[in-house]
Symmetry: C2
Subunit: 551 residues, 2 copies
């Protein structure tokens, strides 16, 4: 039996586009002599459709599209992910399903059993869990068909009480197929291989695993679909961060030799991870613009490393002709800041403009002078400068159709080192899930072949330049230390005692955790951030605003 | 047996404050001769604790506080809500539990079975469902103790597959106790009574129902704890929107006569609902400020009805001495706008200031003139005025410690009729879940005893006053029609066909739905909105930003 894997990039709710893409792949697979073609989880509507699933009209459109696809599957079978209706009165109204289509109609609908409902996942919000386990017989093979999470939960601390493969294995399947929408984080690929390896190995069965590829605002799906032999060794890996299509002869796979793959356990600073983060951010920007129908990006260029990295990423994602950097020097901007920003633009062959903020700053201070009489300048005037920049950038965006990219990094977002409605503006936050120390690594990675980010932007001490001789280190611990404390608290969810016990200064830890928690209100209004870690701000991290914990 | 109900206002994560409040109530109940005192769901940590529950340190603090409370329960029993640890390897790590405390220690821990995971609820994100059903024997009574949602799901379209009371009833309980954190929406009280009535009546058992009271940012808990006799008739209702404490003799309750209560099925425009919305918004403002440690509010006063209503609500919630209205007239502001705003402040005896925006507007236009040369004025300049107001208001906030209240209504938020980083600024959106037609009703309600909102603010045609002779009706359908279409789409989740079939114009419906969906990106960055309806923007409505559905 020949099995085609279609690792496609779908668009949430764009039924026409998704359907066309699926039908094209079916025709290609048929031409290539495939007996069956497999698409990712919920590919009919894109993943994650979120609360669109609560609209009957949306579900109806999914089912109509499935029926239209079925008409194209006369001589080839297809497995397409989509929601289906739970006919029972009890339980949620939907299942997360895989439609097995053959002979011009839907022959079987297999439902997902394990519904992830943690971090960025809300599947139990919409779907009922499957209780009915049957393999699919097709052309002499017995297929154990499962959906994404169904093959996970093999670790010691089990999140679920039953495991679908324990049921399916009773029917003596000859092959496992898993359709997935497994979002990227920088160490996830190894994790995925480990899980699939253990499962294939345990049951002595080959696995065909098809993952979604493409970005849907915050979530990036990295593809990397896999085929493993019955020992659980990888015999083929599809492309990462782009669409791919391959056809395999099942008999060959069953006995094929493995290709080597490396496991890695470090989590920060590794080149491997930085190169992946780089690819994920490029795809994140490109798909956000593509799916929203935008082409041009604008951003504020300070001469610092954050905006430099975002500018370089945007130029690579959208083309240097589609990005515009705006210099908005303040009275406290240093000479080298302007020079560094211009140098960067020159390296990228990208356009810049300079718009002064002093006239607006003076006008606003003057308008407020009756209110502020006798009060010293303070953080207010710093924020004011950041907010005037926000007004100027948004005016350029409104007038000329540029989309503003936010350039705040994860360390800043974590401790609230940023101005709401100022440098926190933007349609998309590019590096909001990238710690400052990782931003340095990204800059060096971008410079791997030649200098793009000016070396001076990398080596100078970070500064917001909103008052004379200001440095980040006036207000914040060194980023080397800060990022480690933040990683322990945010990604690893360690409490203050556990972090202090690792040898960090007690006062520093308490201060950092307090900064994180008291700035929840700022992050509530932050632009969506492209997720690259296991715990990004936004969708996957939900904190009470009025909470009083470590604050 | 004497049962005390403690309807308390807890603060998320504020263990010291919650523990003190619980212990005080225990001492009071003991003095009043109660045998047992009952507190709301998760009262040890406040509801909803969200992802704080993922921190072991947070859970440890919950359990320590429970142990400290237990020491105070030597001669009285207490039922206190809190998270507990699931000892099994399989399943989620926590339960949502009720601790039954007596004799100075925790005697029993009862877990929640039905875990709401829809709208604003994410309980399956954290908790495992209970599988173990036992009543509690205490002083000759057999108590069927359940937690909030456990008593729901009695309607025809069941969301769950099992119902805990079907198990508990086998042990022949003599009384039902339910501890809850059931958030307010304007027609929810009737719904709650209906559900509790059906349950009590079905099992012929009295119910003691204790609800949380107080606001936690978006969510308002309205209290209204209930005691029902075995016929399911209300024999006592605790206060709404404030803390309350009552002690009941169970034998009296079993046979007590009911007090009448009215059912109501209308959803918009009823006085009853408007008065509740009014109370909810007052509590929402007051608790947000109280729990965040703020006292003073600022807002932009346009002379229009939205800002007038918010100003009046804030003055009532925080005291007229703690609110400041800022007039920021533009070149296009009408004379009556200023007069109406000043009249309102006079009625409220609240302070105002006037800060001009023209100097900043001119300075910014001038700074941008090289960029905008040859381009006509458009929406850009309208947004610019709104954003300059944002800068001024935030400067006042930063310099003087006022918290900015957002004054956008739900109709505007729905269709994106507002400027991001301009009039969409604020720490808290007061009427973001109140449709424009309901804002009018609120204004009339606020004026019920005397004119507070100037009549002119109510009767004049709504306008943003950002260009000459602008009216809302230039860009939007009449609010009477718009709000009905929005209600059908947002609250009732009807698709375009279903709405058009009700007799609304097809082009209008498609245009409105498209406006709602294409403005998701604005709402992503909006301040938290106090929830008063069954479907508010924010926590309970999760939509993909890159989605292409009806857009």
């Amino acid at each position: 039996m020949k099995i085609a894997l279609a690792q496609i990039n779908t668009h949430i709710g764009n039924f026409e586009a998704n359907k066309s893409k699926i039908i094209s792949a079916i025709k290609r697979a048929e031409k290539d002599g495939a007996d069956i073609i497999v698409f990712p989880e919920l590919s009919i509507c894109g993943y994650p459709p979120l609360d669109f699933l609560e609209f009957n009209d949306f579900i109806k459109r999914c089912l109509i599209a499935i029926d239209e696809i079925a008409l194209e599957c006369k001589n080839i079978a297809a497995i397409v992910g989509g929601p289906s209706i739970n006919p029972k009165v009890e339980g949620k109204n939907l299942f997360n399903s895989a439609f097995f289509i053959y002979g011009g109609e839907v022959k079987r609908v297999v439902h997902k059993t394990l519904l992830p409902n943690y971090d960025v996942f809300d599947e139990y919000r919409y779907f009922e869990s499957n209780e009915d386990f049957h393999c699919i017989e097709y052309k002499g093979e017995t297929i154990a068909l499962t959906i994404c999470e169904d093959l996970w939960d093999i670790d010691d601390d089990k999140m679920y009480v039953k495991w679908p493969m324990d049921e399916l294995i009773k029917q003596q399947p000859t092959v496992m197929i898993n359709i997935a929408a497994s979002p990227f984080s920088y160490a996830h690929a190894e994790n995925r291989k480990r899980v699939l390896h253990q499962t294939a190995n345990k049951f002595n069965l080959p696995i065909f695993y098809v993952n979604h590829v493409g970005a849907q605002t915050e979530l990036v799906f990295d593809g990397g679909s896999l085929v493993m032999n019955a020992k659980g060794n990888v015999v083929c890996e599809l492309a990462y961060f782009e669409e791919d299509f391959r056809v395999f002869e099942l008999d060959w796979v069953k006995t094929a030799k493995s290709i080597p793959f490396e496991m890695s356990n470090n989590f920060v600073g590794e080149d491997l991870y930085i190169s992946r983060i780089h690819s994920a951010l490029i795809l994140g920007i490109r798909d956000y613009f593509g799916k929203m129908g935008f082409t041009k990006a604008i951003l504020g260029l300070s001469g610092g490393i954050d905006s430099a990295v975002v500018f370089a990423l945007a130029a690579e994602a959208l083309g240097n002709e589609n990005v515009l950097g705006i210099l908005m020097p303040s009275p406290y901007s240093s000479e080298h800041s302007i020079a560094d920003a211009l140098q960067l633009a020159k390296h990228l062959n990208a356009a810049t403009s300079t718009i002064p903020i002093s006239p607006a700053f003076e006008a606003i201070k003057h308008s407020l002078s009756p209110e502020f009489e006798g009060l010293a300048e303070d953080l207010t005037e710093e924020n004011m400068q950041a907010r005037i920049r926000g007004v100027l950038l948004m005016a350029m965006s409104n007038k000329k159709g540029y989309i503003l990219l936010n350039t705040s990094n994860k360390s800043e977002a974590a401790v609230g080192y940023g101005t709401l409605y100022g440098d926190m503006c933007g349609g998309l936050s590019v590096i909001g899930d990238v710690y400052k120390t990782q931003v340095y690594a990204l800059a060096n990675y971008i410079n791997r072949a030649k200098e793009i980010i000016p070396i001076n932007s990398i080596i100078k001490p970070p500064s917001a330049e909103l008052r004379p001789d200001q440095k980040d280190s006036d207000s914040l611990p060194d980023y080397e230390i800060l990022d480690k404390v933040l990683y322990n608290y945010i990604e690893l969810k360690k409490g203050p005692e556990e972090i202090i016990n690792q040898g960090f200064d007690k006062a520093l830890v308490n201060r950092v955790l307090k900064m994180v928690n008291t700035n929840e209100y700022k992050r509530f209004q932050t632009p969506p951030m492209i997720r690259v870690s296991t715990k990004a701000f936004g969708l996957g991290r939900r904190m009470p605003l009025v909470g009083k914990y470590l604050s």
